[in-house]
Symmetry: D2
């Protein structure tokens, strides 16, 4: 068990010795203010142990990682009916592409594209009285951290520069796949993206997907085992945009990345692991996050494959 601590420390040190590549996300000014050299890792096991190294207790913007939680909140209530509004196929295109939507008549290829997450946000507005509060309640219950909330500066900055997302939500509306007011949908989505968490909190949250849909203490029950398995499948095939195949190939774990530099991955029935390093490769995924996970599954020989 304490092997995990040694392994993550050793890979952490390895990565710091090697040059990092990529750029911090700069499409919104606020995200660019982060220290590019940060590197944190936290791993939590289904036995209740947890480990951490580096900047694992620093908060960072989880961004697209929240798409997994948004989807889970919709899926637990709607079940398979959900797939009438969004697909489960990898798209082979970047995260913010509009290209396939026209061909697919407004049905996003998967819920982890921006288009898909906007449709899920629209669905949540119909399913929950207050989806923002429901999201925060979920995260507070899991992590025990009552301070978790939306980051109003990040959210405002993202809304002010979110032309592509405005384009997407209006395009979806024109294609008939947004029921609510498009600005309300847009705001809900970007508020959720602005949530800050640290590596340990993220690892604990994604323990849900390693532990049949519930927290280890059994108090929070988000999904049933069958739904959890399916969430992991979607993470594996769609969690890394047009780098999903490469992530499966190199890492071999279901997971999800965000442009804040976070990546979280799970080995079902074993562990969840969160890595944070702000420099992104050209596909928009954390450069060191990917390197860490690749080395981790190679050294431990633990993956779903």
């Amino acid at each position: 068990m304490s092997d995990y601590q040694k392994i993550i420390e050793h890979i952490h040190d390895d990565l710091l010795r090697r040059k990092s590549y990529g750029e911090v996300a700069s499409y919104i000014p606020e995200l660019a203010h982060v220290d590019a050299e940060k590197l944190g890792v936290s791993l939590a096991t289904v036995n209740g142990d947890y480990f951490g190294v580096g900047d694992w207790q620093d908060q960072f913007s989880i961004q697209s990682i929240v798409k997994v939680l948004l989807l889970s909140m919709a899926y637990t209530k709607l079940g398979g009916q959900l797939w009438q509004r969004v697909g489960v196929e990898p798209s082979g295109t970047p995260f913010n592409s509009l290209g396939t939507l026209e061909h697919d008549k407004g049905i996003p290829r998967n819920p982890f594209s921006n288009a898909g997450a906007l449709v899920i946000s629209d669905i949540l507005l119909d399913l929950y009285d207050d989806p923002r509060q429901a999201m925060l309640d979920l995260l507070k219950n899991i992590t025990g951290d009552k301070s978790i909330g939306f980051d109003p500066i990040i959210a405002a900055s993202e809304k002010a520069h979110g032309y592509r997302n405005v384009a997407l939500v209006n395009f979806l509306k024109s294609l008939g796949n947004i029921n609510n007011d498009e600005e309300v949908v847009f705001n809900l989505y970007l508020d959720c993206c602005s949530i800050s968490m640290n590596c340990l909190q993220l690892a604990r949250t994604f323990m849900l997907f390693a532990n049949h849909g519930q927290t280890l203490d059994g108090k929070t029950h988000l999904l049933n085992p069958s739904q959890t398995k399916r969430m992991n499948a979607i993470m594996l095939t769609c969690g890394f945009y047009d780098e999903a195949g490469d992530f499966a190939y190199k890492v071999g774990l279901p997971g999800k990345s965000g442009v804040g530099g976070g990546i979280v991955a799970v080995l079902p029935q074993h562990f969840s692991v969160a890595v944070w390093s702000p420099r992104l490769n050209e596909k928009g995924n954390s450069y060191r996050g990917l390197k860490f996970l690749e080395q981790f599954t190679t050294e431990t020989e633990q993956s779903i494959f």
Copy 2:
């Protein structure tokens, strides 16, 4: 263990009671001659047990399932260098699409599209003196069945009607990603697609991918453990054309389908399972094969997720 026998029999019977849908592949006359109502299943475990039900001992044309073996034969010799010629990303397009090739400058998105398999065939011609013989040797060694061979009638029929594949190989040649004579490449690929096997033989062959790259007796060693893991990842993300996400979602196993109606899937370190039923859904995957595997992983609660 004998639970497996009960489960596959019970699902087999279930499926026979329910209406089957889809059509037998008819794009080449010879494939259309098969009995549409056939249904066979065989499961082999890493303990050396095997099970079968229905038409599990009937031979059928494995078609695209051979792409996994072609890739393995190239990968074991070339390693990661292989990925300069073909990608590992799901394409989001049908198996015989030319659409993305133009954009991607002749690099097929993945080795399980027809374009990808043609590039792999071209590579094999450079790596093996006699790739046909190498393929047959591999299969004969694994199955112990010395009668395994190419089906000249299927192969001839497919070559005579293979306009799309002729188009693909010439298109790849024009884009600089075929070194050998395009007809030689085309013929090698279609000969390999014409191989006939039964469910048990297929399950035993794919035991390689459940067993770290080697047969249970250790006599045939095709891949190392790391390569095997990566092969499984590619099967999961790319094994079912534009239905790969759906297969991961519903079944949750790496696998590969063929238009002959076969599907083979593996649970690494546990089992491999082959199903055969000739009626195909609109994505070109066996209708009953998918149904069988979905029910099987649901009932056994065994999947990689």
Copy 3:
């Protein structure tokens, strides 16, 4: 000369005798209120004669026809520099498509797509103190009708339902090809689309393109002869969305259509002709408008070809 009156009357009567097809544009409620059976034609010659038949003096919403005037207002000031922001190639896609923009890095294929017209509107905001007033002044000077103005009900309705255009202008903004506030651009474009004119007024306005860029009285001089020639070329290759080739083939005149049911076309150095009939074919062009012009150029044997 009076032959023209006979010919347009005869074709008008012919069309009324035959069944009309297509649907009135309904994507905004206000446009759908029009009488679907209206049919008006007006032809003006470079000799100063004009002719009319049917509902030629009824006002209707000119919609995309205004794109030609927007472009002219930008072209006369910027000249060829304009083409750094928008192309002159037919797109082969519908008028409101986003598909090619992603590939073309925000440069619309031509100025008569909605994307192109939004970029032109953005340019006009930089070139004119008050582009709305400049547009109205132009039309009032040409037609002598001081009542020409924006239709606030049409404009408001279009803005309220213009999700696709909101998507386009935000997408263009995200791709760096909109300088001004995206809402300001959007509003200018839709205000201009809302202008109402009748067939005679339209024919007189487009006399500019039959008469070397100026009105017959020489008082309004919008373009020089070389620019006028080029405007006609763009109308011919791009004026009818993905039906441009068909219009050139059947009619053989430069022209432009709008979803209000208007089509205006010119034979340089000879005449301009405006037709209005609200039912649109599936490409968004007036069904009877196309039929009229095809029959007209066939019977008169007058076309640019």
Copy 4:
């Protein structure tokens, strides 16, 4: 009249003084052997006058220019029925693209793409006993040059390296839009592309399209006036691949280019003009040919617009 001689001489001299750009077509070795600096022009008027300058009496490979003649030979026999097999819309894509075919179910966007010309070749095989002989007869009758024929070296070279065209014809066959043997179609098309002519012969041949479909002496009657008008329309919208809009904009004449460096254009009821200069721009059209025609229509102020 003799003005034409002065103008073409003066533009010819202008062009020779300025640097030429672009590369000679090299995708087949034989085409690359031509002298890159050649420049010839010939203009023929409907009055029977003709003019020439530079290398106007040198033979060169007409290549895709022959597509106009192939289409005419099919159109005169089939009429509008032809358009069930091929469209008349500009494609917005390069000449040898396969991209839109898949979407359009095997119907090429227009007859001047390679795909379109292959379909036309297939049609000719059904319409003529010996389409090769019919083509040669046509050209010999028009030009009076009995030596016009296929160039077996060019044709053989093109067939040996024509992977993209093999891909296209097989792709079309797989999509059901080729009736004859695909190799027979491919050979007919490439034989016709290999024809050599000089500028004067080309200008005289395309006089057909300036003169209502017949030669000036009335002996050869290829098309009726209405068909001729429509051929000119298709040349204008589709004659220059994805540079058609630009050619219409800059030159303003219907025309067709070939990768041998030839361009031929017509002003209906006035003249036809052929230019030859082997260096091609990046769109595959003659660099100096375009420059010549742009300057010519600008200086003469003669164009269809």
